[in-house]
């Protein structure tokens, strides 16, 4: 245990020393990794913000429930009690056909049209606000409502929210594809950095092997080296996103005030940040591992 710890400590210290020996190239590598990570992670943060924002704007999704023209008072009462008992319904409002006609007559463009009609062509209607924003809930609710007696038509007023949701899903897909590509880029960058390290340290590696170093002993500092690069690259990405949020926070706040909405930009949550850092460290380790397997293990003392 003690020996194990001292081996790893030795490797970690060595990895830091080697990073410090080439400060300029280390900074460049970290920059590349940081930028590569900040792109997909930044897009993710952007999408999360848009989603939160869209939730605030729709102010709870609404459904319009149009009844058949011949619906009786009793039937309206039944629908009312159904709405009261349904757990997905937050609130509802009954609009009788007479008041609907009144509203129509008041709106300037349509007043003339209504005058030419005999009787009232408008049905009784309910405006229902759902308790939940999710498209799935809305779908179930609208299906349940349309199956009620004397309901002619259910219209989802927040269809735009669904469209936005679909768009966000597409955006997330694009972000994941981008992160796969950029992850490969990070692996390639670390792979190459480690390859150069191994080439310049060939002599040292040979000597170490001659005096009884195991492959694990020689590989370890390189693996730490890659892991540190990945981890610090992840931190750089996090800082880039923070900077982006810091710079856009005020303008966004101003814009939202114009829409009379109070909205604060959301940063990566603690959990998400941790996952990103772990992921970047793993990629660094993986890149270093591949490099070590394909270059270092082939070096034998001559």
């Amino acid at each position: 245990m003690n020996i194990w710890f001292s081996y790893h400590w030795h490797a970690l210290v060595l990895a830091f020393k080697r990073l410090a020996l080439i400060p300029f190239s280390t900074l460049l590598t970290l920059g590349v990794i940081g930028i590569a990570f900040s792109l997909p992670a930044g897009i993710y943060v952007f999408l999360e913000n848009v989603e939160t924002l869209s939730g605030q704007f729709s102010g709870g999704p609404q459904l319009s429930l149009f009844l058949k023209l011949n619906a009786t008072q009793v039937e309206v009462g039944k629908i009312e009690s159904f709405l009261k008992e349904n757990p997905h319904v937050a609130s509802f409002e009954f609009i009788p056909k007479a008041s609907a006609l009144e509203q129509f007559k008041k709106s300037p463009g349509l007043a003339g049209v209504m005058d030419g009609l005999e009787g009232n062509p408008l049905p009784d209607a309910f405006v229902v606000t759902a308790r939940n924003v999710s498209p799935e809930t809305l779908e179930t609710l609208s299906k349940a409502l349309s199956e009620l007696r004397q309901v002619e038509h259910v219209q989802l007023d927040s269809a735009w929210a669904q469209r936005l949701d679909a768009l966000l899903k597409l955006g997330r897909l694009a972000a994941s594809m981008l992160s796969v590509l950029l992850s490969l880029l990070v692996i390639a960058v670390v792979f190459n950095t480690i390859r150069l390290q191994i080439l310049t340290m060939r002599e040292e590696i040979e000597v170490a092997k001659l005096i009884g170093a195991t492959n694990a002993f020689i590989c370890r500092p390189f693996l730490y080296f890659g892991m540190i690069q990945g981890l610090v690259g992840g931190i750089v990405a996090w800082l880039i996103i923070s900077l982006g949020i810091h710079l856009t926070d005020e303008p966004v706040k101003h814009l939202m005030q114009l829409y009379e909405t109070d909205f604060r930009l959301y940063h990566l949550s603690r959990g998400d940040s941790l996952i990103m850092l772990l992921f970047s460290a793993c990629l660094g380790w993986l890149g270093a591992g591949l490099s070590v397997v394909s270059h270092l293990l082939k070096i034998e003392p001559r």
């Binding site: 001292s6 030795h10 000597v207 170490a208 005096i211 009884g212 492959n215």
Partner: protein
């Protein structure tokens, strides 16, 4: 104990570096491998250290068949040896102290004990006052002694030196040989290759003579 029996070493280009070599060096014994340049001295030592494998025949070191050892076991075999190389193989980007420390780091030594051992090894070869120096600033003889310090710091049971005195003038060479003899006196098995037998002085010593890959005496 090092034991060769019917060892051949043939390179892919057809050159036979060793032909039917058999000998045994007992534990604690000191032996010199003598011969002209190209006689196979270096090849013989490289086979002992598992840097090369024999084509046929068996090489037993401390009860292990070196030729059949799997790759993972080789590092642990090498920890039995102190190796002194003809071209020294010092690391010029680290200090004298760090060069000697390397074998102890490899075997996972605790750092305080390691420091003591490094100082003791440097003291033995007379380089204690140069522990902070870079190897490049040392003279040829000092570099050779540094290489010896690195070989002995982990207190190996077998010391193997390939032409440790070549490129050194007579006085330095005698110093170096005296250091090896002192290890032999404390029970270390010592195997040295050299083309210069005069260095031995008047002390009788076992000599293995190689000529064109064959043991002649």
């Amino acid at each position: 104990m090092i034991s060769f029996s019917d060892v051949y070493k043939r390179y892919p280009n057809g050159f036979e570096a060793l032909k039917d070599v058999s000998f045994t060096v007992e534990t604690g014994e000191m032996a010199l491998i003598n011969g002209h340049s190209g006689a196979g001295k270096t090849t013989l030592l490289r086979i002992i250290a598992a840097i090369e494998r024999p084509t046929t025949g068996s090489v037993i070191v401390n009860g292990q068949d070196v030729g059949r050892l799997n790759d993972a076991a080789i590092p642990f075999l090498r920890r039995n040896f102190g190796l002194v190389f003809q071209d020294q193989k010092l690391l010029f980007d680290r200090s004298v102290f760090e060069n000697v420390l390397l074998p102890l780091q490899i075997s996972g030594f605790e750092s305080k004990a390691a420091t003591r051992r490094v100082r003791a090894a440097l003291d033995k070869v007379g380089l204690l006052d140069k522990e902070k120096a870079r190897p490049i600033t040392l003279s040829g003889g000092e570099q050779q002694r540094l290489c010896i310090a690195r070989a002995i710091v982990s207190r190996p049971s077998i010391l193997i030196a390939d032409e440790p005195t070549s490129n050194l003038d007579m006085e330095y060479a005698r110093d170096i040989m005296a250091i090896f003899k002192s290890f032999h006196q404390v029970g270390v098995t010592v195997l040295i290759s050299t083309h210069d037998v005069e260095l031995l002085g008047d002390i009788p010593q076992r000599i293995l003579t190689l000529s064109h890959g064959e043991l002649t005496g």
